[in-house]
Symmetry: C2
Subunit: 341 residues, 2 copies
């Protein structure tokens, strides 16, 4: 591999410079992506067409110069594979015509053995071939709690109070669903790795909506099963957005990297998780709306705050779709040229 | 006053027991509220009709037995008074037909001297009279950053990326708007106090979307001006939801009480803010979806964690509209009967 900085940083090996990539780098920020997307019927067609998914996955490597590619896909392919189909409504986001309301709805879903998601593995193999060792390829999945949120709520929400109500009022049903998601995700990720994913990231986008105890019980315990099932394969990153106060719990996981959102000060996180984890993040994505001077200053500040080793530079959340690609390039350039004292 | 526990707790005086009230206690959780609301054209009619606003403000005192009333109103009356009208769309939430897009839009808004909001002061006076000293009456306003979010974005959002983009890309314009909101809010709150509000709460619902530095510069500095302008009047509570890492900055404010969301462990907060503040909160509102045993356990755990003095019990966010009033009553009963060791 020509550039394995991200993998080496994840393993805690020393690196010449801090590696950098962006969550959602393959997507709407690039005109080249929008050109591909505009010819299609919808978002799902892109996700489900391996040659096109591979094409947009590689775009940011060519155009932005990131140190890793992340497969273009969606966390909601898992409920889809389990039998709960999602739609992507333009300007609104994901929508599930059917949701899980009670025990009887369990017969509408099944544990996926991963076979429904062949298009993802095909996209991964194709991308690996076309990347030809330039940078590592990251696979991903949603963490069970976040997937559960969508399967109960059916769409985005500020409070996900239906999903949280389900945890409190129907614990046994909730755990059955979380179990099924967990098993499906393990099968899915094993097949992603087989198909060529060289690193895995778990996205727990709605972790921060739960309190520390609830997240430990209904969130982290299922992540732990996934992480344990993948031991001995590839490095794993867990990104529990908003779960600042769960860092101590997260630091008991056997993953290599912990993702941080932009609200979590790097030194605060390092003190809690210790030196055996790589940290990933965490520039405020809104900084990329600002002027060049600000972008450089804030990026350098972030790099200093994390230190040279055990850090993979990224934003603290997915890059916003209306971000100027030039601002993204400046962020990447700043990371690449930065010299730690 | 028959029951001034909340005021004494806010001032740091010793109390016989922990006082308790709930954010959004006057609202959809009560069938008695829904009965009043169902006869009206919409939410705004209720907000703007003092006799009815007073009626629903007092309902939770009578029905739930809370230790404070909070005036039934909305934080968005301020942009409304400044010239930017809001609508409340059923099942969707607030919506602004016009938003602020650039410097030229400044001529569409003005600093409110507070006179546009007579209906709020009338509701406060009426409520004070009808409460007849049973419990204190709380007035409130949105904090400037949160109001700014709606004036730019025009509606709710998961990321408020337009508002954050404005801060980064048009700082001078953003500060002009924040200044105007701040001055309007000061005028408004002074008149609320004159009309009978015995305590004031500032709600910064979207504080947590900003990083520590950005929130210091664009959030807390404006709150500080409001808090300073109200010195020597009534106790003030600042509730910056999600801004865990700004607690140190918040502890420099001359307010009496700091509100905590359910993600912030009480001991973590106490260590940072010291002993000169009362803390308010912070049960996870989703706990009230659970069974009685859980509600009692989690409430008692919270009370122990805060300790007897300098605490006002509340949820860590507004009570969810579909919460069973019996669960709310059990929460209140548990607080009232709890004996600190």
């Amino acid at each position: 591999m020509k550039n394995d900085l991200v993998l080496r940083a994840a393993k805690g090996e020393s690196v010449e410079r801090t590696p950098v990539w962006l969550m959602r780098q393959a997507g709407r920020i690039l005109p080249e992506y929008r050109a591909v997307r505009s010819k299609l019927s919808g978002f799902k067609e892109l996700v489900e067409t391996p040659s096109l998914a591979a094409e947009v996955t590689i775009q940011p490597v060519d155009i932005l110069g990131v140190d890793a590619a992340i497969i273009f896909s969606d966390i909601l392919v898992i409920p889809d594979a389990m039998g709960l189909e999602y739609q992507m409504i333009p300007k609104k986001g994901p929508y599930f015509p059917e949701t899980l309301k009670s025990e009887t709805d369990l017969n509408r879903i099944h544990i996926s053995d991963g076979s429904e998601l062949k298009y993802v593995y095909d996209a991964l193999s194709l991308t690996r071939k076309e990347l030809n060792g330039r940078v590592p390829l990251i696979g991903f999945a949603g963490a069970p709690w976040t997937i559960f949120c969508y399967m109960i709520e059916g769409q985005g929400s500020k409070t996900f109070s239906n999903a949280r109500k389900m945890l409190q009022s129907h614990e046994s049903f909730s755990r059955k669903v979380l179990d099924m998601i967990t098993e499906s995700t393990i099968n899915y990720l094993k097949l992603q790795i087989e198909a060529g994913a060289q690193m895995i990231q778990l996205f727990d986008s709605w972790a921060g909506i739960l309190g520390v105890q609830t997240y430990r019980s209904f969130g982290i315990s299922y992540i732990e099963r996934i992480v344990n099932a993948l031991q001995g394969t590839v490095p794993i990153t867990v990104f529990s957005k908003g779960a600042h106060f769960s860092l101590e719990d997260l630091s008991k996981l056997k993953c290599q990297t912990i993702g941080l959102d932009w609200n979590t000060p790097p030194k605060f996180a390092r003190e809690i998780v210790g030196n055996n984890f790589t940290l990933q993040g965490n520039l405020d994505p809104a900084v990329l709306y600002g002027n060049g001077k600000d972008i450089v200053n804030r990026t350098e500040q972030m790099l200093k705050s994390f230190g040279k080793n055990r850090h993979i530079a990224n934003l603290g959340h997915g890059v916003y779709p209306d971000t100027d690609p030039e601002a993204v390039k400046l962020f990447i350039k700043t990371v690449k040229e930065f010299k730690h004292e």
